[in-house]
């Protein structure tokens, strides 16, 4: 396999998070009973006309700005003509010659640990279009049902240059894009519901040779399938070529059950879509000030935030990347630091990335429904930082917060008497009692058994239910035993 080069381009359909459809006022909410969210326009009744949803255009502008692309001052909606039962008008309104977003790029990080490298994936374009409905082939006794709820849902089709050369790069790109569209709030990213789906164009060639014939894998709705489908496709293409075969341009589907791709249609039966400008819609004109207003309203983007986290909070690149995986995590983290104090930025990072993440995971919860708020977590970390409680006690307090036993860490510490004992007089007295009650252990220690020291520390901590400052216990015990 070493002497083959892989070339991959990705087309992604991101469903835009508008409340109504791209050319009608019907709702875009997912999961409604079939055909209850399809109005006269979506049903393509005689005489109806499309009116462009400005919210969808706003999403496209946000995306274009986030990837450093050009926002076309004039773009044109075109009709893509073909017959299919779930395509009510017999054409899809899309953009063809003049798309709304031109160029731009997405930075990706590929691999793990020592092998990590960065790469830039260039985008060709992104254009607005409407989704089709859904054909339902079960439950209709030899007939098909049509659900037009999804018809007219706004999509942004995002097309890359053939810049990726492995399934790992393709997945890294898809993940980065997925994070970005959610970050800027234009797509909910729900892959099960089809809100974010990828087509992969895959070809192989000998190094230096012209591009090979590509096959397009359609509708991959998970990162795992994207990886598996591309890996299978690469293997299949190389084997075919090495066996003396030829690749025929085709559109293929990935079957997750078999892990294989199969041909849906070849170039010979490709449609002539007869694109032409939609006479029902005027050209889309985006004045400069609309772009500027959108730019001003855009949140800080992941790459900028990552740099700032490293500079302001002294986080490692790894921590900063993890904490900017989504806007939600980043906001949660910053809200935690805001309460705990900037000096505690690093422990805050650990609490968010490790303790909180693990607890959420255990209960299968999302960050959005975390029972412990950022302010509560920040209050907790603050008490560790000022030595009010130890890390171990903090875990108890966290659990208590999680279970709703108190409104804040302070309240729980107070109510449950968890405040760390730091009065050296009190600790000294306690140690004397422990030494007196454990004469055997003292003897063992003096006989050279180092382990006995730890046992004595344990006894002291136990006597205070863990509240004694462990460092002070250590020091005083050492002094007494020397």
């Amino acid at each position: 396999m070493n002497h083959w080069e892989v070339v991959i381009g990705i087309e992604t359909h991101a469903q835009l998070a508008t409340r109504s459809k791209i050319f009608s006022g019907a709702s875009t909410a997912f999961g409604a009973a079939p055909n209850t969210q399809a109005c006269a326009v979506d049903l393509a009744l005689p005489g109806v006309l499309p009116v462009l949803n400005r919210g969808a255009v706003e999403c496209a502008i946000r995306f274009g700005l986030a990837i450093g692309a050009e926002i076309a001052p004039k773009s044109v909606f075109a009709r893509k003509n073909y017959f299919y039962p779930d395509l009510p008008k017999g054409y899809q309104i899309s953009q063809f010659e003049l798309p709304v977003v031109v160029g731009g790029s997405v930075a990706i990080q590929v691999g793990q640990g020592e092998q990590v490298y960065e790469k830039t994936v260039h985008l060709t374009r992104a254009h607005l279009e409407e989704d089709a409905g859904k054909s339902l082939h079960e439950d209709f006794h030899g007939k098909s049902g049509i659900d037009l709820n999804r018809a007219g849902t706004p999509l942004l089709e995002i097309v890359t240059e053939p810049d990726m050369s492995s399934s790992a790069e393709a997945v890294a790109y898809a993940r980065a894009l997925h994070a970005l569209v959610r970050w800027i709030g234009i797509c909910d990213g729900n892959m099960q519901e089809g809100s974010f789906r990828c087509d992969a164009n895959v070809s192989v060639r000998r190094p230096g040779a012209p591009l090979g014939t590509r096959r397009e894998i359609k509708n991959l709705n998970s990162f795992r399938f994207l990886q598996q489908a591309i890996d299978y496709e690469i293997r299949w293409q190389i084997e075919t070529l090495e066996d003396g075969g030829r690749i025929q341009q085709a559109t293929v589907l990935f079957d997750p059950d078999t892990g294989e791709t199969r041909v849906m249609r070849t170039k010979e039966d490709a449609h002539d879509y007869r694109y032409f400008p939609d006479p029902d819609l005027l050209p889309l004109l985006i004045p400069r000030d609309w772009v500027e207003r959108t730019q001003a309203a855009l949140p800080e983007l992941p790459a900028a935030k990552k740099r700032r986290f490293m500079a302001d909070y002294g986080l490692s690149a790894y921590d900063a990347t993890t904490l900017t995986a989504s806007l939600e995590i980043a906001d949660f983290y910053e809200a935690t630091v805001a309460v705990a104090g900037k000096a505690a930025a690093k422990p805050c990072a650990n609490w968010v990335m490790v303790d909180l993440a693990a607890r959420l995971n255990r209960d299968e919860r999302e960050l959005a429904d975390s029972p412990v708020s950022a302010a509560q977590l920040g209050g907790l970390v603050a008490r560790i930082a000022d030595n009010t409680i130890s890390n171990n006690i903090a875990k108890k307090v966290f659990e208590a917060l999680w279970n709703g036993e108190g409104a804040s860490a302070d309240e729980i510490i107070e109510k449950q008497g968890l405040k760390q004992i730091t009065d050296s007089g009190a600790i000294e007295q306690l140690i004397d009692e422990v030494l007196a009650a454990n004469a055997a252990m003292v003897a063992e220690f003096k006989a050279g058994k180092e382990k006995a020291f730890n046992a004595l520390v344990g006894q002291a901590m136990k006597a205070t239910k863990g509240k004694a400052n462990p460092q002070q216990v250590n020091e005083l015990l050492k002094k007494k035993l020397s």
Binding site: L43, V48, L49, G90, P279
Partner: protein
């Protein structure tokens, strides 16, 4: 009351000389008597019409009536009207009952007008003789062996036969003006974008425009006042201030009411290809306009000869796509027997569409195809621009442009049906106006061998009020428009 203008009927209703119910019933009775032969209406629904008439009477009694309140108006069957069968002249929509109102229907209802019924038309407005209708041809009330023109042939025949005081039409390449000419009516196609296309079944979206068909220019103005206006449901609708299209009608009376008006006579309208009888009437109308004080200047529209070929690329291209929705899946006709999906599509569309519609879908599909798009569609769009530029240049020299509406008077049923190109040439003088998006009118200007002749007036963009005034002055001085056929 039969045969009165909208203006006169409005006065009669306001003065309680007659109720809307009585007026509507009078026209329904006349339809019942004449329609079996003329075939101007596809659907009449007396109950619905009379219900509207009763509501109008209540409004009138409350003193809340407007210019059209209580007046029955026939609607071309291209406008979706809630609860009404809306066929567009096609078997494809033979049983389609619209669940919603077109903006035009809504606006007439808001004005208190009564929907008198849905008029016959060429299938999907494709035709110039009303012979492509699935519901049979319409007969011209002036000579029942002849066509009324098309595609708004039913509307034209209904008004000409006094079955309706006025009617709506739509004009994609001449479909208001040509039947108005052939049936001795006054018809106006407004500037593209003045009347909303919402609910008006699309033939060629960039050309389609609705307008009034009535007996006088003044009536057309009253109707346009009700029909026009910005509509946010139509992206090509123009956002402009509301205007009173009748506002100029009372102005400049006197001996030479049109002095100062410059009428452009395009030399391309006065060359070969026009029937001598038609041309004689047009020349007489020009003389009349000079008597009214207007000055005439020769202008040129050098790309006129390209209008028909460009139109027969652009209109079918748009139509081929617009008509894709009639696939038998959701509503309308579906073939009774089919083997699979493709077979269902094929049989549904083969059986549901008539020959002319299929011809245009084929032409349109061809010109949009890969490898032909540039040579046909893009080239036709370039020509369209040139034609619009020609008009812009001409309007630097004149205020309105005048010529014949149709090169001939009403032709015999079946006479041109077998020769599509001959049929397409019926619109040789009207098509360029649609390509440019300009307003155009046809007004009666005489008779040739007993058949009506139409005079075409073309205005600059948004010059409807001026056009109506120019037509109105002529109608004050002549009485061609008052002539009606023997019932």
């Amino acid at each position: 009351m039969i045969g009165r203008t909208l203006k006169e009927l409005g006065a009669a209703l306001a003065g309680r000389e007659i109720s809307s119910v009585e007026l509507t019933q009078l026209h329904l009775d006349r339809i019942a008597r004449l329609n079996p032969e003329i075939n101007a209406f596809i659907t009449v629904d007396a109950e619905r019409s009379l219900a509207q008439a009763r509501a109008a009477d209540a409004r009138l009694a409350a003193g809340e009536g407007g210019a059209l309140t209580g007046i029955p108006i026939a609607q071309k069957d291209i406008f979706c009207a809630e609860g009404w069968r809306t066929t567009c002249g096609s078997k494809m929509l033979g049983d389609f009952v619209s669940p919603y109102d077109a903006t035009v229907i809504e606006k007439f209802a808001a004005a208190g007008a009564v929907n008198l019924g849905k008029t016959n038309m060429d299938e999907f407005a494709m035709g110039s003789s009303n012979e492509t209708s699935h519901f049979g041809p319409v007969r011209n009330p002036w000579d029942r062996t002849r066509v009324p023109g098309g595609s708004s042939g039913g509307s034209a025949a209904a008004v000409a036969a006094l079955m309706a005081p006025a009617a709506t039409g739509t004009d994609t390449g001449g479909s208001i003006r040509q039947p108005a000419a052939l049936c001795n009516l006054t018809g106006l196609k407004p500037t593209y974008g003045v009347v909303s296309r919402w609910g008006m079944i699309a033939f060629a979206s960039s050309l389609d425009q609705a307008g009034p068909m009535a007996r006088t220019a003044e009536d057309c103005g009253l109707m346009l006042n009700a029909m026009a206006g910005f509509d946010d449901r139509d992206s090509t609708s123009l956002e402009r201030e509301t205007e009173d299209y009748c506002r100029e009608l009372a102005a400049n009376v006197g001996e030479k009411p049109l002095s100062g008006l410059k009428i452009g006579l395009p030399k391309e309208f006065f060359g070969e290809g026009c029937d001598a009888g038609v041309m004689a009437c047009v020349q007489e109308a020009i003389a009349e306009y000079r008597r009214l004080g207007a000055e005439t200047v020769e202008v040129s529209l050098p790309n006129m000869r390209l209008a028909v070929p460009a139109y027969y690329v652009i209109a079918p291209a748009e139509a081929s796509s617009n008509l894709s929705r009639y696939d038998g899946v959701r509503y309308g006709y579906r073939a009774p027997d089919y083997a699979d999906l493709d077979d269902m599509y094929r049989k549904t569309r083969a059986q549901g569409f008539g020959a002319e519609v299929k011809r245009r879908i084929l032409i349109g599909t061809y010109v949009l195809s890969h490898g032909y798009y540039d040579a046909y569609y893009l080239q036709a769009q370039r020509i369209r621009r040139l034609i619009a530029d020609d008009f812009v240049a001409a309007f630097r020299q004149c205020d309105v442009i005048l010529g014949p509406t149709s090169p001939c008077t009403a032709f015999g049923l079946g006479e041109k049906a077998a020769d599509p190109v001959q049929m397409y040439l019926s619109d040789i003088y009207t098509i360029a106006v649609n390509l440019a998006g300009l307003p155009g009118m046809s007004i009666p200007c005489g008779f040739s061998a007993g058949l009506p002749v139409g005079l075409q007036l073309i205005g600059d963009y948004f010059a409807e009020a001026r056009l109506l005034n120019v037509a109105h002055r002529y109608q004050q001085a002549t009485d061609w428009h008052l002539k009606t056929p023997d019932a």
